[in-house]
């Protein structure tokens, strides 16, 4: 269980990195980007 949770967390962080390299997400919406990550 712990292993799968760690894997899931790492996967979501990797997805974020992938999203950050795109111009725009999916359809017509995009959630507000966390301001702390802009610094």
């Amino acid at each position: 269980m712990q292993k799968s949770l760690n894997f899931f967390s790492a996967l979501l962080v990797k997805i974020f990195d992938l999203i950050s390299n795109t111009s725009c997400l999916g359809y017509l919406g995009e959630p507000d980007y966390p301001e702390d990550l802009l610094k």
Partner: protein, 200 residues
């Protein structure tokens, strides 16, 4: 509901994984919001297309949209609901045009694709004020490759429905590129203001 659900999942992950930093949590929460938001929208639009028995068209629009918009960028809505409504209108408009319209003159399409190629070369990818783009050159090249691929497919295929679907999907993408570049970079608030100035 989506921010709440993503917060709940993130909190669960925090409790069970001590190695996560504050930045990691923000990244996880953002990724979850994107995944859940797009998943819900996809399911709703999938159900609409299932009702109209137009699933192949749904998958085609979905693939064209994701292979162009992710690279070129586009207009955003401020809230999830307005985004969902716009997405539904977007998909249904393409479905109606694809099934009801006949194919136009070949020369018209050649001129359209040439102008579009120039617009993409000049404007893609759209600036995103909420999120800085780090790899503009790569995104521009990939946008042009993706657009060229759909152009070749358009002229190779004889099926009017598929050709109409490719044409309108690309046309809507080009219109978004022009609007975003005329009004400055993508900003949710600005686009919402623009959206409501059109509707009011």
């Amino acid at each position: 509901m989506i921010p709440l659900l993503s917060t709940l999942i993130t909190e669960y992950l925090v409790k069970n994984n001590n190695t996560l930093t504050k930045k990691d949590l923000l990244k996880i929460q953002y990724s979850l919001q994107v995944i859940l938001g797009d998943l819900i929208k996809s399911i709703i639009i999938f159900a609409i297309f299932l009702f109209f028995k137009q699933l192949p068209l749904f998958f085609l629009i979905f693939v064209i949209l994701n292979s162009t918009r992710i690279l070129m960028g586009g207009i955003h809505c401020k809230t999830f609901n307005s985004c969902l409504i716009c997405s539904i209108i977007y998909f249904i408009s393409i479905m109606l045009f694809s099934t009801l319209s006949s194919k136009l003159n070949t020369y018209f399409y050649i001129v359209f694709f040439l102008i579009s190629f120039i617009i993409i070369s000049a404007y893609a990818p759209c600036d995103n004020k909420k999120r800085p783009l780090r790899n503009k050159k790569i995104l521009k090249i990939l946008s042009l490759i993706s657009f060229t691929f759909w152009c070749i497919l358009f002229f190779k295929l004889r099926n009017t429905q598929i050709c109409n679907c490719i044409f309108l999907s690309l046309l809507l993408q080009i219109i978004q590129l022009i609007i975003v570049n005329l009004k400055g970079g993508i900003s949710n608030a600005k686009i919402t203001k623009l959206f409501f100035s059109f509707t009011s």
